[in-house]
């Protein structure tokens, strides 16, 4: 082992049926460094982490931990915790039925008994320190995912660890939260903790990381010091090919084409959900890409869920192509040509045990009806088409979706709604957890769809991305529509100001 390294992995191999997820991967983490683990969706990042923490059992290779002479034997996450590795996994892995406080302390307290008073007080303090809007005694399941993500992070950083692993912790956080997280990470770094950081946001990598290890297709591409690796090179290392920059995406589309005087494809008047958003008006035209923006928990998702009929709708009027329709449940919306990609992939998106193929055709199938199953051959064809189109990394279309990498799962859900061929497509955080290459592909796709005359609502926590794709932004604050920005107003500053409520 090198002198100042806290963790070394040598020749790690991991095979799943039909997939070589990791092939002879080496990885070194030094004391007090933040080390980015980068790669496309399905490159094997999460797998490497899970092998390290004992969730998966490796098929080869060795792990060395500082302070232990022999190769460390880590056969369960518990072992990993014991040797000082604390982890935030990509999919939130907390127990929804327990309280917030308990989720933060379970599995890592000493002693036989749980001291509720103490853990509630400690948790309360920690939540306050990190500014997480949750109550220690609250059931975790009732918190939004962003809050759950923060709780998972709080749990991990609170542990007295040598190694902290963060697998895409920022995918559902907004900028303020991310800033908080970075501050935490830098503090820990000072204390000598080694941090492994997985993300698809390049800016974040360059903001805090010291070193980068790149994986591609389960193999190690290399380890680099951050200064030696400019972004463009990093991306091409990840993708294994040169990458055309994305700065000029928007120019490809022409927003001038939208006819704002025509009847809107979708129009809502005084739409009111039961989930706490105030009644709002909203409309979208043919070929338009619009966005909802606001802070975490401002009700962006609630708005689009109300549009789709995903939550119960209390009142309001909906017009499709000028004709009034009733949308009480998702099927009504689907029949009226609306598609909705939900933000909580695990809960609302994937049907875990079903194959990739069944997941892709699900929405189309439901729209066709109970008595008209899509033939096997046809389904294969659709699946193969979209696996290719979106470059979904899967062993086959038979593979259960839950064994795909997070980003690839997201692509499957996207494929599902594209296949449904809607005239109005709602995408709630479609690029969450998606690698940089594909992200650009998706943004291009959105604009292409708009070019073909479809309407798209695009929600993202990344304002950049919104600016790049949207021609109009609806700004929300505390469940209320507080403004609408168009054309020249679409600048970072202006948006931030509207969100914060400085003017308007």
């Amino acid at each position: 082992m090198e002198k100042n390294s806290v963790l070394e992995m040598r020749g790690i191999c991991k095979y799943f049926p039909g997939v070589r997820a990791l092939e002879q991967v080496d990885f070194t983490l030094r004391e007090g460094e933040i080390h980015a683990l980068m790669g496309e969706n399905g490159a094997g990042k999460s797998t490497l982490i899970k092998v390290l923490t004992g969730v998966y059992h490796k098929d080869g290779g060795e792990v060395y931990i500082k302070g232990i002479d022999k190769p460390a034997v880590i056969r369960s996450p518990q072992d990993a915790q014991n040797v000082g590795i604390s982890t935030v996994y990509q999919e939130i892995t907390l127990c929804p039925n327990l309280t917030v406080a308990e989720n933060m302390y379970i599995g890592r307290t000493k002693g036989l008994l749980t001291n509720w008073k103490k853990i509630n007080a400690d948790a309360g303090k920690l939540l306050d320190d990190l500014g997480i809007p949750a109550i220690p005694g609250q059931q975790l399941g009732s918190c939004s995912i962003a809050v759950q993500q923060m709780i998972a992070i709080a749990r991990a950083v609170d542990m007295n660890c040598k190694v902290l692993i963060l697998d895409e912790p920022t995918s559902s956080l907004d900028e303020q939260e991310v800033a908080k997280l970075f501050k935490l990470m830098l503090d820990l770094k000072k204390k000598g903790v080694g941090i492994i950081f997985v993300t698809h946001f390049l800016e974040q990598v360059y903001e805090v990381c010291d070193r980068i290890t790149v994986l591609r297709d389960g193999k190690l591409v290399g380890e680099y010091v951050i200064e030696d690796l400019p972004r463009v090179q990093l991306v091409s290392k990840m993708l294994g090919k040169d990458f055309d920059d994305m700065a000029d995406i928007k120019s490809e589309s022409d927003t001038e084409n939208i006819d704002y005087s025509s009847t809107p494809v979708y129009q809502a008047k005084g739409l009111e959900g039961t989930t706490g958003i105030k009644p709002f008006d909203f409309s979208i035209h043919k070929g338009e890409v619009n966005g909802f923006t606001g802070l975490l928990g401002s009700g962006r998702s609630e708005c689009v869920r109300a549009i789709f009929g995903a939550d119960k709708v209390n009142g309001g009027e909906v017009l499709i192509d000028g004709k009034p329709v009733k949308i009480n449940k998702p099927l009504d919306a689907m029949k009226n040509g609306i598609s909705y990609l939900p933000e909580d992939r695990k809960r609302d998106g994937i049907v875990g045990d079903l194959s990739v193929r069944d997941n892709i055709i699900l929405a189309l199938q439901v729209m066709k009806g109970f008595f008209k199953p899509i033939s096997r051959a046809q389904a294969e064809e659709f699946a193969d088409e979209y696996i290719k189109l979106l470059n979904i990394k899967t062993a086959s279309s038979e593979t259960p979706i839950k064994s795909l990498s997070g980003g690839n799962q997201q692509k499957v859900i996207l494929a599902r709604w594209l296949l449904a061929n809607p005239k109005y497509l709602i995408l709630d955080e479609p690029t969450r957890g998606i690698d940089i290459g594909t992200k650009v592909e998706i943004q291009k796709l959105v604009l292409k769809l708009a070019g073909e005359g479809k309407s798209v609502t695009f929600i993202s926590s990344e304002i950049d991305e919104m600016i790049r794709t949207c021609s109009r932004l609806v700004v929300l604050r505390d469940g209320k529509v507080v403004g609408e920005l168009k054309g020249d107003e679409l600048t970072q500053n202006k948006i931030m100001a509207t969100i914060a409520g400085g003017e308007s």
């Binding site: 995903a310 939900p342 994937i350 045990d353 929405a363 008595f371």
Partner: protein, 367 residues
């Protein structure tokens, strides 16, 4: 009926290996073990003879025929139970009691108010239809509790489990009607001139119907999706409640057919023992078929084979004169051996042992 296709394998070993990995391997292996046991212990077990019965026409008889015949009700129930398990993630424990109701209804319609009629008071088909409707109604009751009131299936059906046999008694005013018309007995025994027991045909019909339903509707996809993730199913336009409800109604229909066969076998009914404990066997059939009792993906063929395995086991135990008292203990041991052998972990471990014994061969396979 399985949704999985067997991929073309180049080598026979590869084929064998892919079969072993499949879910359906479990019940088939169980069946094979039982067959093998009987072959070794007493090959005459498999003898089938064609003999005249007391009515004077030839019928087939032999253990194998008995098994196929006797398993009928269980197989039919297993169909419905598989669907209910898949969609609702729970099991219906009231099927035995609702079979009593179904049977009671059939007799009530056929006998009218006279408990020992010389002639049938209504055509059999009318009795059957009424029985189906009533059973579906009770299925709908269970389904409503489970789907719309979100009560866990095992407790929701505990209600009918408790009340069912009493309701059955009430339908016939506590009388035990007996039907003397031999025509009614055709459905549970033999139709004159046909050497194969009628329940076999009824079961075959049910299997064909469910195969067609699974092929020409989206029942499989919907119930699996609902069972795996009701939230995302709902966002994809499926009505999870409706699907759960429908599976219970389908199970009600299965119960009706099973109940009809049951009363026809004996032309009478005993409310407290008819189809006793059949719910446990039906659930066991689903489980032996390798289906997760927590819902989600299912393999209908495997459940059906599972049901035959149970009947095979029962008949084998009867044949080998197992002590009355101990019969359930033996059943337990056999079931445990079967499930342990088929447990993925055990198979994995055995695979590892094999790998150690024949390292060269497995390495070649991997490459």
């Amino acid at each position: 009926m399985s949704s999985n296709t067997v991929k073309k394998q180049t080598s026979l070993a590869g084929l064998a290996k892919s079969v072993v990995r499949k879910q359906i391997f479990i019940p088939i292996a169980a069946l094979l073990i039982l067959v093998l046991f009987n072959l070794i212990a007493d090959p005459s077990f498999f003898q089938i003879t064609l003999q005249p019965n007391s009515e004077g026409y030839n019928v087939l008889s032999g253990n194998i025929i008995s098994i196929i015949d006797r398993a009928s009700e269980l197989v039919i129930l297993a169909i419905g139970m598989t669907l209910v398990t898949s969609a609702s993630g729970g099991q219906d424990i009231s099927v035995g009691a609702t079979i009593a109701i179904a049977g009671s209804v059939v007799l009530r319609v056929l006998c009218g108010s006279n408990t020992r009629p010389d002639t049938l008071q209504a055509p059999v088909i009318v009795a059957f239809i009424v029985c189906c409707l009533v059973s579906m109604l009770f299925g709908a009751f269970n389904g409503t509790l489970v789907a719309y009131f979100k009560i866990q299936p095992m407790v929701a059906t505990l209600i009918m489990f408790t009340a069912g046999r009493s309701i059955a008694a009430w339908i016939n005013n506590n009388e035990l009607p007996v039907i003397s018309d031999p025509k009614f007995a055709y459905y549970g025994n033999f139709i004159p001139g046909i050497p194969i027991p009628t329940p076999v045909f009824i079961t075959a019909a049910c299997l064909i119907v469910i195969a067609l339903v699974l092929k020409f509707t989206n029942l499989r996809l919907y119930s699996q999706a609902v069972g795996i993730n009701p939230h995302s199913s709902r966002l994809n336009g499926i009505n999870p409640q409706m699907i759960k409800f429908i599976t219970f109604v389908i199970l009600g229909l299965c119960v009706a057919v099973a109940g009809f066969i049951k009363v026809s076998r004996l032309s009478t009914i005993n409310y407290s023992v008819v189809a006793k404990d059949i719910e446990m066997d039906a659930i066991l059939a689903v489980a032996l078929g390798g289906n997760a009792l927590g819902g989600g993906k299912f393999n209908m063929t495997a459940s059906v084979i599972g049901a035959y395995v149970i009947q095979f086991l029962t008949t084998t135990l009867y044949k080998y004169d197992v002590d009355s008292a101990a019969i359930s203990a033996y059943k337990a041991v056999v079931v445990i051996i079967l499930v342990v052998l088929s447990a993925p972990i055990v198979r994995e471990k055995m695979g590892e042992v094999k790998k150690k014994l024949f390292p060269a061969k497995t390495a070649k396979e991997a490459a």
